[in-house]
Symmetry: C2
Subunit: 274 residues, 2 copies
């Protein structure tokens, strides 16, 4: 939000100052990670790819058995209210949906009202080039349906990110339990090989990202199983998500070839919308 302006969030239908917004200590989003989220790029006050973000949100909610209390139009209106209340034009929206509050225990309660939270942050252009490493600490679980959901369970990714920072890299790539590449800590992977972009398959533990789906839809990339050797031999390597496409200059200390023209083409897909 503009300097001096107090941050405002949308919580269960109400706009209120962030410092007054209260998540209940018994919210299962907090106690058990029982929820999902979406992160949405906003340009010129227009949230991008909303239809796709909300479709993924609904798929996730259905898989978890969480009822979404609002229509897509209601959610879009809430996005716009949140942006306006924060005076934001270029921004990132985050929608968090949890199952709601509950007594102790893993079993989802029968009658529960979901918690829906929308927050907005001013847009900060991420660096277009980064260094990366292949995470040694943990692996992404391609056997879990959670690898296909943008769930609140991000601790494996946090461990990977911490490891990267400790080893002097900007970000990390998670392998799956078989040792194939799955994704970065908050982005999908794009590997240039023979002049074509490839991205790890959902069956290999890749989150079905919104930018990734767009790149597949316009035939700019295709799915493949990719090992660490494929990454190191890449003609270019990018991390892409709904916010940005960042190219990787070094992986585990090894220089990765740059291919500015192909990277620019991939990045240009961010500007398109169907």
């Amino acid at each position: 939000m503009p300097e001096g302006q107090e941050s405002v969030v949308w919580l269960n239908g109400a706009l209120l100052a962030a410092r007054l917004a209260r998540i209940d200590p018994s919210d299962r989003g907090l106690t058990l990670g029982d929820g999902i989220f979406e992160t949405i790029r906003v340009r010129n006050a227009v949230p991008r790819q909303v239809r796709h973000h909300l479709a993924r949100l609904r798929r996730g909610a259905e898989q978890l058995g969480i009822q979404i209390p609002l229509t897509d139009a209601d959610i879009s209106a809430a996005f716009n209210q949140t942006l306006a209340a924060n005076g934001l034009v270029d921004a990132v929206l985050r929608l968090t949906l949890t199952r709601g509050t509950g007594p102790r225990g893993v079993a989802p309660p029968a009658n529960v009202t979901p918690t829906m939270l929308i927050t907005a942050a001013a847009w900060v252009e991420p660096p277009s080039q980064i260094t990366a490493m292949i995470c040694q600490t943990t692996r992404r679980n391609e056997f879990s349906p959670l690898s296909g959901l943008k769930s609140l369970n991000y601790l494996d990714n946090i461990l990977a990110c911490r490891e990267a920072r400790q080893r002097g890299a900007d970000d990390a790539i998670l392998l799956n339990t078989q040792g194939n590449a799955a994704e970065a800590t908050a982005a999908n992977l794009f590997v240039l090989k023979g002049g074509k972009w490839f991205t790890p398959a959902v069956r290999d533990g890749a989150l079905p990202g919104i930018f990734r789906a767009r790149a597949l839809a316009v035939d700019a990339a295709r799915e493949a199983t990719l090992g660490p050797g494929d990454l190191l031999a890449a003609e270019a390597l990018c991390f892409g998500n709904a916010l940005a496409v960042r190219s990787v200059s070094r992986l585990d200390g090894n220089e990765i070839r740059a291919n500015p023209a192909e990277v620019a083409e991939l990045r240009a897909i961010l500007e398109t919308e169907d």
Copy 2:
């Protein structure tokens, strides 16, 4: 808490009515599952195995790089204050520790104050016998250090629990990615075989549970790799955690042998403390 009494929680050093306790919407425990917890049995106003619970909490916090702001004595005092404020004598305490609030993004912020929350619930005796199924929906990731931590990332276990309820069972057993038994959704497994209790190894994705550690320490159980066949052929099968030992009467619809004497011996370990 006794009927009519308002529930009280301990939050970052203050006791306050649960309905007034506020978790910040930017708490990373909520937004990313960035935290850990402990669940502690209280009998006759005495929290049990506190030393072991706090040792595990500190191991987890160290692995995640979260600073715990209190000594063990401070935390014990907070437990007692929380119990007294709720008028509870037989209870379950839960301590939740998150990394604290942060801006958007996976990377842990540099300067962050952890959130520590203690809640208490009246003791409700769980059923001593249950039915179970082997989860088909998801697998426990033994490749992740999180399988050794009591982290806030419980969504795989929630999926397993939901599947159990949908299929008419009380609870579920999670296999690891290799297809060996890891644990139940909120308890360790104990399999009687040749008159001895065996429990899945930590390397197979078993949470190093406090009751489990006690059973190993008194030589009542030993670690083993156990497949679904071992579970079905068990001379008795139990789910054990710091709160209770429950015996399984049916697994995937198949009757599991009862062995009341051996189960009683295992359950008796709950009463002991070193």
